[in-house]
């Protein structure tokens, strides 16, 4: 029995990957992820020089919504409201960051970049490759990206430009919009080696005392345990439409969630909120929970359950149905005497 997972040509010791964000913005965090036997780490996204303002972060930028501090870590339903920004150093710092991570880490390191012009995407991806990263993730879907950049208008060209320029695998991280399947197909056609589904939703919360949006005043990325069901569906739909592997991400709190993603066709699962909320030990705990399940079910490899639930997806015209409630019963008789 082993959690070993093959993903875009890399061999991962676990399907659990640390997603791009505050848990992968410095070198020591890579060590922590490795100690917990994470499969890989996606580094924090570096933004091109045009988006230099995204290297400066508002204060504060996180708030836990629907969160009772008295039962910290046991809250089952909460939202992490975050105005998370890009890697805070220069691009030179970022290349150096990748090099240092690669020198010391034994797990694969995946760079993450954001730009707008295709040639910038390309130049940055080449730099990521030269810095010896194992793969590059194109973060075309940050909830904080400029809304003027569209998938068809900007990102298709970006993916194409990157794919021809680098030999390392290219992952494309998509937003949880209505076009996930179509965009996944496009990404595959453009030559991406995997898609990451999905980035965070964009949301907003209001402080009713002060009658304005909370924190910095603009929309933030929202995520939390509730967000997984939406992504489960996207993964399930995309898995039926594309042949490249999927890295599922969103709302994963436990090994069960990882297993669900895998049963819906994901190859790897990226986690982050759970690390922020429950600590680095979460990675080890999730790995342990997956192993327990495999042991209980007598599974030796996750390949045996990958896409298993997809086989039972039942389409509306196949769902077994019975006639509805009898229309002559007492619930359909209007009786004035019973009112009031």
């Amino acid at each position: 029995m082993s959690l070993t997972t093959s993903f875009v040509g890399l061999t991962l010791q676990s399907p659990v990957i640390v997603a791009s964000g505050p848990a992968s913005h410095d070198v020591n965090q890579i060590r922590l992820a490795q100690e917990q036997k994470a499969g890989a780490v996606v580094l924090k996204t570096a933004c091109s020089d045009k988006y230099i303002h995204m290297r400066s972060w508002p204060r504060p930028r996180y708030k836990l919504l629907d969160w009772d501090k008295q039962i910290a870590g046991r809250s089952k339903a909460f939202s992490l409201y975050a105005y998370e920004q890009g890697y805070s150093g220069t691009l030179e710092d970022y290349w150096q960051f990748i090099r240092v991570c690669k020198e010391h880490a034994s797990i694969p390191i995946i760079g993450s970049i954001f730009a707008d012009e295709a040639h910038e995407w390309q130049e940055m991806a080449v730099k990521v490759e030269q810095s010896s990263a194992d793969a590059v993730e194109l973060d075309i879907s940050s909830p904080h990206r400029p809304g003027s950049l569209g998938f068809e208008t900007t990102f298709v060209a970006a993916i194409k430009a990157v794919v021809v320029a680098v030999k390392i695998p290219v992952l494309v991280k998509l937003s949880p919009g209505p076009d996930v399947v179509q965009q996944s197909v496009s990404a595959q056609e453009c030559g991406a080696k995997a898609v990451t589904l999905c980035n965070r939703l964009r949301g907003v919360d209001v402080d009713i005392e002060n009658q304005r949006p909370i924190l910095h005043g603009y929309f933030g990325g929202i995520g939390g345990p509730w967000a997984k069901y939406y992504t489960f569906r996207h993964v399930a739909e995309a898995a039926q439409a594309i042949s490249i592997p999927i890295s599922g991400t969103g709302g994963t709190m436990s090994g069960e969630d990882v297993i669900k993603y895998i049963m819906l066709g994901a190859t790897t699962v990226q986690i982050l909120s759970v690390i922020m909320i429950n600590g680095w030990e979460s990675i080890g705990r999730i790995n342990g929970e997956i192993e327990q399940y495999m042991k209980r079910k007598g599974i030796s490899s996750l390949d045996q359950i990958r896409g298993k639930a997809l086989e039972s997806i039942t389409y509306p015209d196949e769902i077994i149905r019975w006639s509805g409630e009898s229309k002559k019963g007492p619930r359909n008789t209007w009786n004035d005497d019973k009112i009031g």
Binding site: P22, H53, Y62, S148
Partner: protein, 109 residues
Amino acid sequence: MDNKQAKYPGLHPLPPAFVTDFPPVAVVVEERCIACDRCPPLCFFDAIVMEHRAAHKYERTAVVVTENCTGCGLCFEACPVDAFVWAPDKTLGARPSKAMGESERDLSA
């Protein structure tokens, strides 16, 4: 509905008033700290450590390492007794490192 009366008010949902002049950093009010150890692991910037205090009720207290603090606000959410407050970091100058400019507005498109 008075915000201040809430049982667990958490992080005040708005930045402190001085945010336009000085970057806010978190500071622990040591007398309030109950040494529950919840904030150091929640901090992703290694900015909170537990320190020994012989005179403290619990003999330990959380302390913010100001140089590491990015003012993200997550520690406020970790603290069951609201021991965190905002303080201006006057070492970093009196203007935000990036004020709202044209490129910033681009993000709101």
